[in-house]
Amino acid sequence: MFHWLEKNPFFFAVAVFLTIAFAGLIEILPNFAQASQPVVGTKPYTTLELAGRHIYIKNNCMGCHSQLVRPFKSETDRYGHYSLSGEYAYDRPFLWGSKRTGPDLMRVGNYRTTDWHENHMKDPAGVVPGSIMPAYNWMFKNTADLDTAYAEQVTVNKVFATPYNTEIPMADGSKATVALADSVEGARAAALEEAKLVAADMKDQDVKDAVAAGQVPEIVALIAYLNSLK
């Protein structure tokens, strides 16, 4: 049989393809059949948070930080409740990472503040002596791309029925709604309102001035995202 295949490249290629595709079919399809169902309390991202998530990706934060708490006592002690599949229902892409040069960030919003992040991004070793994380000063100057974040919100809402403008059950029994603006102008305005709340807790005068002038520096969006990780 194999001698025959080695003389017939077409059938050889088909045989190889079927052999390698087999595992993927068995492993991946069953999980897709029951697509990720969000757990109670999981909300889609606001425009500002999503813009912050894009900055997180742009600077490859997942190269050093995971967002996956494994079900071990040492990890739940350090980071909080272990991760559940449904908590990632709106994460496109997933950001679990593969290396922990720094700590896990899955629930960093529970135990770090805006002020802490601001100082840490300016001078990591000043906040955590011995830290090998570099500073991210350019985030205080660059402007966040709110338009692209809004475009992504519209896309996931349209294509994947991500529930914007829909009541979402929260853990305490209340309901929450994440608004999706009608237009990009509306999204910018809503993001700016949110940015003002973040900037109010910050010290950097340039950032405060920029937000007051209607700009959203990258650092503000990033902190909004980090604060949303709970």
Partner: protein, 493 residues
């Protein structure tokens, strides 16, 4: 030889050889910078804080991984394909204007993609998935390059004189098919600019999959990009170059069959071992773990087949640095494919995952197996392509020992670092509280990060020696006749 040898056309092979050397140095130079940045964070701003954005660890890291995987390795694969393909199929590229055109187009388009990748990664344009970081316009370029290579493979096979496909060809075909399938499925994404009616950045996209599903597809791809980028095509190389260089026939045809089909069947299951203790279903984690262990069999099948090819001819290892490169590569392949399955055992994974031990594993595989084999392949090709002997044998030997020392420093330091890290993360005191804060587990690694940086630097020095030797071979080594090229490569002092 019964027939007069064909005049093979190595034009495109030469171009890819050149690019392999250049991108190898670029990729590993960036790696060395990263290693020093982790040991001494001040290196992050070495070019001044004004451009820190572009010299920062986080921006350079994907540039390192992508340039080594898709720059150095892939160019090496193509350099050898445009050499080996012709020779084992007994057909010259010059015989088909169309195939020659395809090959040149393949190279040109690849160069465009390389430039686009370097530029966008430095600017931070990324989809966020490891080794699948490229946004959709580049993905389309990648697919085009790949399709053209496929046409080139099957085109050459179509006009072959040798009826039976040699083992290396099986592996090249598998590389093509495997990566094609994996890349397409993992990079399914929706451009947000078009879906939202023209808002935001035109190149931005969002993944088709979310959360756990996205992770599943990503690691099904991620692990198997290793399989079909680092294992399968490199096995293709050793099956051709070791028998050629040593003048020995492959030890066992049956073993090569068993190893090939075994590898094809088992490899794809193993991706799940990246997701142990994550939120993917338990049975999948177990499958990933079990099949990773089974994977030892086909991997060792090829490696043993290669080592036994040297049966009765071991004196060649001492005599020829080229054989030494290949035997060390096979040995590191065995080592790495034993280490991987050990890390995939659930209890070991609980310790090893997220630590530097994994980094060590990747690098003993890539530096010890992949890069050594590619360099050996290009050393074998150089005299036949440029019709000159290898410029310096002693330089080759020096390179071999410097790089071997580099790899050993690299993986030993990362083993210690990784296991230390893992043990400290999980340590509790007698009251059940965590024994260490996270930063304790970072600062303790400093000596190992320094050793790793030294190891990496040594390896990079070896890369420069290789480049110099190749350059001198091309330009000023003694010319050789066809009759000198039957088995072992001619080498200067």
């Amino acid at each position: 030889m019964e027939n007069r040898p064909l005049e093979y056309d190595y034009t495109v092979a030469k171009w890819f050889m050149l690019v392999t050397v250049v991108l190898g140095i670029v990729g590993m130079l960036v790696g060395v910078i990263l290693a020093w940045e982790m040991a001494f964070p001040a290196v992050n701003t070495i070019a001044g804080s004004g451009v820190a954005e572009y010299t920062n660890f986080s921006r350079l890291r994907p540039l390192h991984t992508d340039s080594v995987i898709f720059g150095f390795t892939l160019s090496g694969i193509w350099a050898t394909w445009y050499y080996v393909g012709q020779r084992v199929l007994k057909v010259s590229m010059a015989e088909s204007k169309f195939l020659m055109f395809l090959a040149k187009l393949h190279f040109a388009l690849y160069m465009v993609v390389v430039v686009a990748v370097v530029g966008t990664l430095l600017l931070g344009v990324s989809t966020g998935k490891e080794y699948a970081d490229f946004e959709w316009p580049i993905d389309i370029g990648v697919v085009l390059v790949w399709v053209i290579w496929g046409m080139s493979i099957f085109g050459l096979i179509g006009i072959r004189r040798e009826k039976s496909l040699y083992i290396s060809i099986w592996y090249y075909i598998a590389t093509f098919l495997g990566i094609a399938m994996l890349y397409l499925f993992n990079n399914m994404e929706i451009p947000t600019y078009f879906a939202s009616g023209g808002v935001g950045a035109w190149y931005h996209s969002v993944s088709m999959y979310s959360g756990t599903n996205d992770a599943l597809v990503q690691w099904w791809y991620g692990h198997n990009a290793v399989a079909f980028g680092f294992t399968v095509p490199i096995v293709a190389m050793i099956y051709y170059f070791l028998p050629k260089e040593s003048g020995q026939a492959v030890y066992s045809y049956k073993l090569s069959l068993l190893a090939f089909w075994g590898l094809m069947f088992v490899y794809l299951w193993a991706g799940g071992h990246h997701l142990i203790y994550s939120t993917v279903p338990d049975w999948m984690q177990t499958m990933g773990s079990v099949f990773s262990v089974v994977l030892i069999l086909p991997s060792w099948g090829s490696a043993i087949n290669m080592l036994l090819t040297m049966k009765g001819e071991w004196q060649q290892v001492a005599a020829s640095p080229l054989i030494k490169f290949m035997i060390l590569a096979s040995t590191f392949y065995m080592f790495s494919t034993l280490e991987g399955p050990i890390q995939a055992i659930k209890s070991v994974n609980a310790l090893a995952h997220f630590t530097d031990w994994i980094v060590g594993h990747v690098h003993d595989g890539v530096l010890g197996w992949v890069a050594f084999m590619i360099m050996a392949a290009l050393f074998h090709m150089a005299p036949r392509v440029f019709k000159r002997e290898i410029y310096s044998k002693s330089l080759m030997n020096t390179q071999f020992w410097i790089q071997t020392l580099g790899v050993v420093l690299y993986f030993t330091s990362m083993w210690i670092a990784g296991i230390t890290q893992g043990m400290m993360w999980r340590a509790h005191d007698e009251f059940g509280n965590l024994a260490y804060s996270f930063i304790d587990t970072v600062t303790v690694l400093h000596p190992y990060y320094t050793i790793r940086a030294v190891g990496g630097t040594l390896y990079l020095v070896g890369m420069f020696l290789w480049a110099y030797n190749m350059y001198k071979t091309m330009t000023s080594a003694r010319r050789v006749e066809e009759s000198e090229l039957q088995n072992a490569s001619p080498m200067g002092a």
